[in-house]
């Protein structure tokens, strides 16, 4: 009997294993996970799970079907057992990039989040090293737990990732949430578990969280080219693309929840220039935004604006879609200037308008088909 081995236990691994069954593969399918948990979603780790609002169990995903062997708690390096395969799926994802070593507090796995969630109870302040999506989410969660939160990085928050306009919007929301932001262009140094040197000054906090990016989990691979091997998930970008493999189609989608903003992005980042605003209200931080690139492509961003993801994708792909007709183009600022986003002036923002389809039945939390 043919056997496909999927190495990894997260969303990419489970989806690949399950897709083999959906597509009709009737050989043996085995998924091997290093972690002790069943598959889970990483999305709530830096938010609800870290805040202690959501249980660990709430992050768990449904188990694969019974015709898939799912094994947890296995070391992905040589553990003395050879596992033969006819087809191999590399889906080991990425791990946290650590600045000082294994004792760094990070938010990558469910165990990391549980460990860290136990800390804020006795803490009053936190320093977050890294101001990307994860760092800003963690800082927002710390603020929600009433900790003083300072984010430190070598570059301004989210700037390289998002581009200046959306970064400014997110930073304004972060500052309103009381997150302190320090940029240390000359470098920073972690002195011990409570102190960070940042330029001339030394900052102290009860907890230091490292959110400095991630590294692919490929240490266990003894070679990087082999017949019958494919990859899925975050690990893909670190592996060579085989000559006989079909072209890889990247589907750029991003989402982050931080400082009261829920941001969904469809399209390539970063975004330069100022966007169109097909719907919503930028000052109220609830808007649909679209950037058109010179190459004819577009990117769409929903900021705390309810819009089905598939519609956001269509908008990002430049397909005209039936979004509300009122389109305003922001006139402040030119391309590459500082963003045209103006800080919130009104203390009582207008309630966000929700976009709903015209024939949509009344909303209900559950609709059941018998």
């Amino acid at each position: 009997m043919k056997r496909i081995v999927v190495v990894g236990g997260s969303v990419a691994a489970v989806t690949t294993a399950q897709s083999l069954r959906v597509e009709g593969y009737d050989g043996q399918v085995t998924a091997l996970s290093e972690e002790s948990h069943p598959p889970y979603s990483r999305v709530p780790l830096s938010k609800g799970v870290l805040a202690g609002r959501d249980s660990v169990e709430s992050a768990l995903l449904p188990l694969p079907s019974e015709d898939i062997e799912f094994r947890t708690g296995l070391a992905t390096t040589a553990d003395g057992t050879d596992r033969r395969y006819d087809g191999l799926v590399i889906a080991t994802g990425t791990g946290a990039h650590r600045l000082t070593g294994d004792n760094d507090l990070v938010v990558r796995s469910l165990n990391d989040a549980s460990t860290l969630a136990a800390r804020p109870a006795a803490a009053h302040s936190a320093i977050v090293l890294g101001d990307g999506f994860l760092g800003m989410e963690v800082a927002g969660t710390c603020r929600a737990l009433r900790l003083e939160a300072t984010v430190i990085d070598l570059v301004p928050p989210l700037l390289r990732l998002l581009g200046p306009w959306p970064a400014e919007l997110a930073v304004a929301a972060a500052r309103d949430h009381g997150i302190r932001i320090r940029v240390a262009p000359d470098g920073l140094e972690v002195l011990d578990e409570h102190r960070v040197r940042c330029g001339e000054s030394v900052l102290t906090a009860d907890v230091i969280v490292c959110a400095a990016g991630d590294v692919p989990n490929t240490d266990w691979l003894c070679c990087r080219v082999a017949p019958g091997a494919v990859a899925a998930g975050d690990v893909v970008s670190s592996l060579p693309h085989g000559e006989s493999a079909r072209p890889y189609r990247h589907d750029p989608n991003f989402r982050t929840g931080q400082s009261g903003l829920n941001i969904k992005i469809s399209g390539e980042l970063p975004l330069t220039g100022t966007p169109e605003v097909p719907a919503g209200w930028v000052d109220g931080r609830s808007a649909l935004l679209r950037w058109r690139h010179d190459a004819g492509t577009a990117a769409s961003v929903a900021v705390t604006h309810r819009l089905p993801v598939i519609k956001l994708k269509r908008l990002g792909a430049g397909v005209t879609s039936a979004v509300p007709a009122r389109t305003t183009r922001l006139t402040q600022g030119r391309d590459h200037d500082l963003p045209a986003f103006r800080p919130l002036r009104s203390a009582r923002p207008r309630p966000p308008r929700r976009s709903r389809g015209p024939g949509r039945p009344a909303r209900q939390s559950e609709r059941v088909s018998a």
Partner: protein, 64 residues
């Protein structure tokens, strides 16, 4: 007979259920999810189970 329970507060219109089981799930032009059939027969049970698993926001459930 299997019932599909959709949590519309969670559903964000990713459309993966429709990709997996187009005979059962459909997203309209507005990106809103509709169920094509009221009852899930044995023939579609496997596909529906796969669609439930693939939902990135866990908005779908199957109840016996």
């Amino acid at each position: 007979m299997t019932r599909i329970v959709v949590d519309f507060d969670r559903c964000e219109g990713h459309g993966l259920c429709e990709q997996t089981a187009p005979e059962v799930f459909r997203l309209n032009d507005e990106g809103e999810l509709h169920l094509r059939r009221d009852q899930v027969d044995t023939e579609h049970e496997g596909l529906v189970a796969a669609a439930v698993r693939v939902c990135p926001v866990a908005a779908l459930k199957v109840q016996p």
